[in-house]
């Protein structure tokens, strides 16, 4: 039997088993599924059974590159300006303050640890430190939605949590995209090297031009079939262009999704078309990420991983509390509201796979291992973390809106 055949059989079997079991667990124990596919990937990959080898991983790399762009587009499509302007400015202040505090705490600590531990020059240590800072910023929204629905909570706390996960994603994607622009290998095709600012602009232009191309391409098309082909085609083009140029397909995808959703009258249809293949691509990405995992060659790899987990917890917990206190909403949100942000979500996998693709950045395996461990540690329980913070609907709704929010 060929490797492809074995892989399909195993993936289908494991997928069904995992899906049935985890659906039941999600209902009963407030557990968010996803991490099981990561474990499955690790088990299938060269590090464990070797059923998926390096050549096969190379073969399916385009699918995972597409998944990165697609995830970026889904995140971008959540940024509907008409809805965003209805959220009080206070919520954004809290959300972005929390994001930046976590980014700087984890990024800063990692920078010093990696420089010292591996003897990296400041330039070399910068990329993994910033990447880990960006990863730490991310919070999964699935657990929050799960808990919010169970308790039917809709107050300021839930609004802030939703806005914070969105801000976390935007900050992480942009930070990571800019990082890739800074770490870009020099291009020999032009008479002068392209600057990091120009690479950043190129990333944004790819996404925005993709969005414009989609409109030009489709006009006022009503057919979901055509919409899906066009969306898929343009997104493949956007992801392919960004990957080919060694930029971030996640960031290009995010700008694509943002352009699309804010310039179209068919928001629901676009969102539906994007979400149609979200799950399959996400599973491919998780299995790909798990299979790509190799234990870091550095013997002291556990230390940065431990620091990441602890610093992130401190950043999320303390940063959230500090951000709320600075904006006078601590009594409303509660002192522990940051606990709900501890779940990592799947975007970290996308960004870490993207980091792995860059041959020139330092410590790729370490960064990737850290991301995987963080997902495994936090994702399963993200629903429980959120549920511990979000009170039942009646309690939430009775909280008065703070004065500054009005």
């Amino acid at each position: 039997m060929t490797q492809g055949l074995i892989l399909v059989l195993i993936v289908v079997g494991a997928y069904l088993a995992a899906h049935v079991v985890f659906d039941w667990l999600a209902r009963k124990l407030v557990i968010v599924s996803g991490a099981e596919y990561l474990i499955l990937g690790v088990l299938l990959g060269p590090s464990a059974t070797g059923l998926i080898d390096a050549t096969f991983l190379q073969d399916i790399a385009p699918a995972s590159a597409l998944a990165l762009g697609w995830m970026g587009a889904i995140n971008g499509s959540r940024l509907v300006l008409l809805r965003l302007v209805r959220i009080p400015a206070l919520v954004y202040r809290v959300a972005f303050a929390e994001s930046l505090i976590t980014l700087f705490i984890v990024g800063g600590l990692q920078y010093f640890l990696l420089s010292w531990l591996f003897g990296l020059s400041p330039d070399r240590a910068f990329a993994p430190a910033v990447a880990l800072g960006a990863f730490a910023t991310l919070s999964g929204h699935a657990g929050i939605e799960l808990a919010a629905r169970r308790s039917r909570g809709q107050g300021l706390l839930v609004t802030t949590l939703r806005a914070t996960t969105g801000a976390n994603a935007a900050v992480a994607i942009c930070t990571f995209g800019i990082l890739l622009a800074f770490g870009h290998p020099p291009s020999t095709a032009l008479s002068r090297p392209i600057t990091p600012t120009e690479w950043t602009v190129i990333t944004i232009v790819i996404g925005v031009a993709g969005g414009a191309l989609y409109h030009l391409f489709l006009g006022e098309e009503n057919s979901v079939d055509r919409m899906f082909i066009s969306l898929g085609g343009v997104l493949i083009l956007v992801s392919g262009a960004a990957t080919y140029l060694r930029l971030s397909p996640v960031m290009a995808g995010m700008f694509f999704g943002m352009t699309l959703i804010n310039t179209s009258r068919k928001r629901n249809e676009i969102t539906a078309a994007l979400s149609r293949v979200e799950r399959p691509l996400y599973f491919v990405l998780l299995i790909f990420a798990g299979a790509s995992w190799r234990l870091s060659a550095q013997s002291v790899w556990l230390l940065p991983v431990l620091l990441f987990v602890v610093a992130r917890a401190v950043g999320k917990f303390g940063g959230a509390r500090l951000a709320a206190r600075l904006n006078d909403v601590l009594p409303t949100l509660g002192p522990d509201w940051g606990v709900a942000l501890l779940g990592q979500g799947g975007l970290i996998i996308a960004l870490s796979v993207n980091y792995l693709y860059q041959d020139t950045l330092a410590l790729p395996n370490l960064v990737f291992t850290t991301a995987i461990i963080s997902v495994l540690l936090t994702d399963l329980l993200s629903g429980r973390f959120a549920a511990s913070v979000i009170p039942p609907a009646t309690t939430t709704m009775t909280h008065p809106m703070p004065h500054r929010a009005l």
Binding site: Y15, L138, S187, I194, N222, S223, I229, Y244, S275, L347
Partner: protein, 464 residues
Amino acid sequence: MRRLIILVLMLGGMQLILPLGARGYGGQWLLIFGFLIVAAEAVGGLSASIRLPKIVGYLLAGLLFGPSFLNTVDAESITQLAPVSSLAIALIAFLAGAELRWSELKERGVLILKILTVEMTLTFVAVAGFLVAVREYVPFLQDTTFPVALVLSMMFASVAVVHSPAVTMALLTETKARGPVARSTLGVVLVSDVAVILLFSGALALARSVAPPASASAGGTSLGLLVWEIFGALVVGAALGGVVAVYLRWVRRELFLFAVLIAFFGAELARVVHVETLLMLLTAGFVSENLSEEERGHALRIAMERSAAPVFVVFFALAGASMEVTQILVLWPLLIPLILIRLLALWLGTNLGARWGGASPEERRYVWLGLVSQAGVAIGLATIVADLYPERGADIRTLFLATLAVNQTVGPIMFRYALSRSGELNEDANAESDEILSGLAGDTGEMPVATVAESSTPLPPQPA
């Protein structure tokens, strides 16, 4: 105009991006793939605006951007994108099989067999007879004895009778035509795939005995192997169809992912057990559709059509990119009469067969127009001939590919014309399809985000 602007912008964009990037991690593969989808869709839209089938636009886009003209999609990219073609063939075959209901086969089976028997026999005789008659001008028949010329002509004719399930299915998917002309054409095209392989096996065996190949092992294709390719495909396909039916009965989730996996798995399985891919997946589609409740089978078909849509675009664009214009230009004096004779034989054979089977006047008049396209299995058969007779086989293959290029371009136009004239074109097809989709959204496991917030079930895993 808008579509032309898109094409110019995209070409400009590609010219800017290509020198700046680097290969690796599938970036270039993805870039070319995306470019082909968008560019081919744009040209498809242009051809639709002048009432031509979109497939013709896809083929022309491939031709325009392929190695013959602009070379944006070079030969290496075509090779890299070959898995997309395999996936497309698998999806097409499964969808085609799923289109056939047992009750309909019982009702139409005799008619289909009668049409097929007459049109195939007439086409085979006409093409072989024509080649023998003009053998002085046919590159691979020059300087041969009459018996050798006859068997080689018969071998060519056995490939020339092939139709194209891919074009038929793609056009039926595009137009959502469901009338008697569409059903009879589909039936003839699908059953002809089995008949062609049998006919080819016979012609091959005859050719081997009359004109033995230079090396005994040349070609490596024995009759036993060909028989296994056909009947093995039926057995393995039926087993796979049974598994799909069980899945639809007991699990029925993630149909979009399942559809792609089944196509990929089926293509891979056919390769491993050496059976005919098209026939195997066709059988699988037929068995699964007929063993499942109608609603469930329909849900899988919708999911498959959705996943196949972009794959079809690229499949036909790649087919266009693979066309070698120079061959057509060199061979045109032989090509034009050959194509005309095939068309004449198709028209006459189908008409007679339809009369014999008591078909409706529309079927008698228009079904032959749906049988003009050629692709798929024909290329494989032509390659077997080229392998078996290296000196003459290459010429046979060249002539055949040139014929195929013309038929593949003209065929969809003629089929669409037939559907239009018989009143079976469904202009509201897309709206209907969307209604079905919205009705099945929950069933197929693809929950639109807009409805997630109101749902009472746990959230699916989300990437952020």
